[in-house]
């Protein structure tokens, strides 16, 4: 009896595609729509997990665009603390599509707004990226000037990016009432004071996210006609929820909504692809735990596996030296401090919220 399943590939069936497959290499899991050559100029943005993708690409000495490189005078971990080298510019973590869309629109219009500044102990913070200046700025003028520099550099970035990798992190966000702008982190976590009159909680739905992602795609194409986009969903659960729901529910809802909208974008547009890193980490069909004891940070070897799948799919991974590099991996397994699940080296405002739990 002829039926549409009789001639599907083994990867289409759960038994052969998952139960019996190699759960490290995940053959045929990710078949890219477009190529990434060693000389392709890649930009990354998104939540903490996007920093992982960037590190993996940088390890393969890919030309990762960085329009706001750290000053030479700054050594590495201080640079990271000031938001250098995390992504392709100092926009810090971008957790929601709305945040990215509004940033793109700012780049187009050069808009910088004074109301979008928080204060803490006399220091001034850019509400749209509070974490890139941990000590804050001396004046409002300094915040505004630094933001103008940032936007100018971003124009350069988007005009030269061949492939833009965007990792979707959250649907829960805080909107600034007067300007309507979407903030990366709630007021009062890094700076600013929370008052319900000025800030309101918002949980982006699939439809809103889809509208924003479509607008992002359109805006990016205005900067660079042939730009390609790779969407991924961050497998890192949310630290806390302001939805009133249990955090397991809220986190599953958030990740499901993001995965659903990323999938729909990839289906609709041939210059948008979806990389299933989320699936590799969160599937129960894996050998061994993916997360550390805090069930949020992803074990380094799992991140390595995910990135290997990504790089192999594009044929970018020259296995010899990466194997060698893995051998002398700076985080030796027996380093106890590393293993107790303490927040690994990702810069993540979102996890600051956990510290706030009374």
């Amino acid at each position: 009896m002829k039926n549409p399943y009789s001639d599907l590939a083994p990867s289409a069936f759960w038994k052969t595609g998952v139960v019996q497959t190699d759960k490290t290499l995940w053959p045929d899991l990710f078949v890219p729509k477009f190529a990434i050559e060693p000389e392709t100029r890649v930009a990354t943005a998104g939540s903490c997990f996007a920093q992982r993708i960037r590190q993996a690409l940088a390890d393969q000495n890919m030309p990762i665009l960085d329009v706001e490189p750290a000053p030479e005078a700054l050594q590495e971990d201080l640079a990271r603390e000031f938001g250098y080298g995390l992504h392709s510019a100092r926009y810090g973590n971008i957790y929601t599509p709305r945040q990215l869309l509004e940033l793109l629109q700012d780049v187009q219009t050069g808009t910088v707004r004074e109301e979008l500044i928080w204060q803490r102990k006399g220091r001034f913070f850019d509400m749209l990226r509070p974490n890139v200046e941990p000590d804050g700025c001396a004046s409002v003028r300094e915040v505004l000037e630094l933001r103008r520099l940032h936007l100018a550099r971003l124009r350069g970035l988007f005009e030269t990016t061949d492939v833009f990798v965007f990792t979707l992190g959250l649907t829960e966000a805080w909107l600034h009432g007067p300007t309507g702008r979407c903030l990366p982190v709630a007021p009062g976590v890094i700076a600013g004071e929370y008052d319900p009159g000025t800030y309101r909680f918002h949980n982006f739905s699939h439809s809103e996210l889809l509208k924003d992602l479509k607008a992002i795609r359109a805006t990016l194409r205005q900067f660079h006609k042939k730009i390609k986009i790779i969407l991924t969903t961050s497998p890192v659960p949310i630290t806390a929820t302001a939805s009133g729901d249990h955090v397991l529910n809220a986190s599953t809802y958030t990740k499901s909504t993001l995965r659903s909208v990323a999938g729909e974008m990839a289906m609709r547009f041939n210059n948008v692809d979806y990389f299933p890193g989320y699936e590799i980490v969160t599937t129960w069909a894996r050998d061994g735990m993916a997360y550390q004891d805090n069930l949020r940070s992803i074990r380094p070897e799992v991140v390595a596996d995910v990135m290997a799948v990504f790089l192999d799919a594009y044929g970018l991974r020259d296995t010899q030296d990466s194997a060698r590099r893995d051998a002398e991996d700076p985080a030796p397994a027996e380093d106890p401090e590393y293993l107790d699940g303490q927040e690994d080296d990702l810069v993540c405002e979102e996890s600051l919220i956990e510290a706030l739990q009374k």
Binding site: L29, P187, A191, S251, T257
Partner: protein
């Protein structure tokens, strides 16, 4: 600095809500919008996982309706094979929201379309519920007449249901373009022949699922104004995907769309609630104990955990424990600190316990045409 997370309760934080919580009872995970009691008339429908829910609700003494009960004298094995007792009527597995919607539309219009009956070896099969007649019908007329009877039973069921528990299974479906209906199974799996001209694969999008769920609710409310809808998402992954993607990715996409839509409908409609069975089974903290060797079937312990959370949240397990303790010295202890393992006592001896370990996982006793797809792999 004041911040909005100050007065968030412990279950709002991942550390206290997931890492440090009791992952058997999941306190605070499910706060029902409307409570089930022993008198609530509950109907069940949906994908294979819903069969678990129906069974355990009955075990817990919930009044689970059956609009098309098996003949009294019929043996359970035969009855199950003919689709009796799986749900609250013989509609078989309803994998997509669209199927549920179209079933209600057909039932309310009394519409039976003869194009939706396909043959195999001269026997006629109802493509909207191919599984309930494993050997098909002798004639098209018999098949159509049976469907008319079924639709009337569905009308009667919905009209007398207080809460419909609907488990969303898939977003991948097969549409008969000519009849404009979504089939339960791809043509050619159980009956009929796959012809591209007539049958089209369709992966329902978030918007479509959302709209189908809202329309399903509206139709049900037309029949029974104060009916409530309790949505869950099945944690059982796809057996196979026709989307062209890898099944792991396709399954993740499918479940994500369903979870997002279910969440939004529940948030937007007072008469709709969402029960997080999907969360409990797939949460990474429980990954090891959740699935059978085929990584698809959910283990009995996990089903019991899920149902334990459900029954406790609805205050049914405690009531039940008193009832049990009163009658017989049953496993379940009386009083509120009921140990969920008591639930195991309810479900009778776990036959699988003594089975030796290396025997192939007990064939999932769920009736699931979707699992047939595996057999089709060349």
């Amino acid at each position: 600095m004041t911040h909005p997370y100050e007065d968030i309760p412990p279950e709002g934080f991942w550390r206290s809500g997931v890492v440090e919580t009791d992952r058997m009872d999941w306190p605070g995970l499910h706060k029902p919008k409307f409570h089930l009691t022993h008198t609530t008339r509950v109907a069940t429908a949906g994908s294979c996982f819903a069969q678990h829910i129906g069974r355990y609700l009955r075990l817990a003494g919930i009044n689970v309706l059956d609009g098309e009960p098996a003949p009294k004298g019929m043996g359970e094995e035969l009855a199950t094979r003919f689709g009796y007792g799986l749900y609250s009527a013989r509609y078989g597995n309803i994998y997509t929201a669209r199927q549920m919607r179209e079933l209600l539309e057909d039932a309310m219009a009394g519409r039976v379309d003869k194009r939706l009956f396909l043959t195999r070896k001269g026997r006629w099969y109802d493509m909207l519920r191919p599984g309930v007649e494993p050997t098909g019908c002798a004639s098209l007329e018999e098949a159509m007449e049976l469907r008319r009877a079924h639709l009337e039973a569905v009308l009667a069921l919905i009209s007398s249901t207080d809460v419909l528990v609907f488990t969303l299974g898939l977003t991948e479906g097969w549409i008969d373009k000519r009849a404009g209906k979504t089939l339960a199974m791809a043509p050619g799996v159980i009956a009929g022949r796959y012809r591209e001209r007539r049958f089209a694969f369709h992966n329902f999008s978030y918007d479509e699922v959302l709209e189908d769920l809202r329309e399903t609710l509206r139709l049900m409310q037309e029949l029974n104004p104060n009916i409530k809808l309790l949505l869950t998402v099945s944690p059982v992954p796809l057996t196979a995907t026709a989307s062209g993607d890898h099944v792991l990715s396709a399954s993740s996409y499918s479940k994500s769309v369903l979870r997002a839509a279910a969440g939004d409908v529940a948030a937007g409609e007072a008469a709709v609630d969402y029960f997080p069975s999907y969360e409990i089974v797939t949460s990474t903290a429980m990954a090891a104990t959740a699935y059978e060797a085929n990584l698809r079937g959910v283990t009995q312990e996990m089903v019991e955990t899920v149902m334990g959370v459900f029954l406790v949240a609805h205050g049914l397990l405690d009531a039940l424990a008193e009832m049990e303790a009163g009658e017989t010295a049953h496993g379940a202890r009386a009083g509120s600190d009921v140990d969920l393992r008591g639930l195991r006592a309810l479900s009778g001896p776990a036959e699988t316990d003594e089975e030796d370990a290396d025997v192939e996982a007990p064939e999932d006793e769920l009736i699931c045409e979707e699992a047939l797809l595996e057999a089709l792999r060349k």
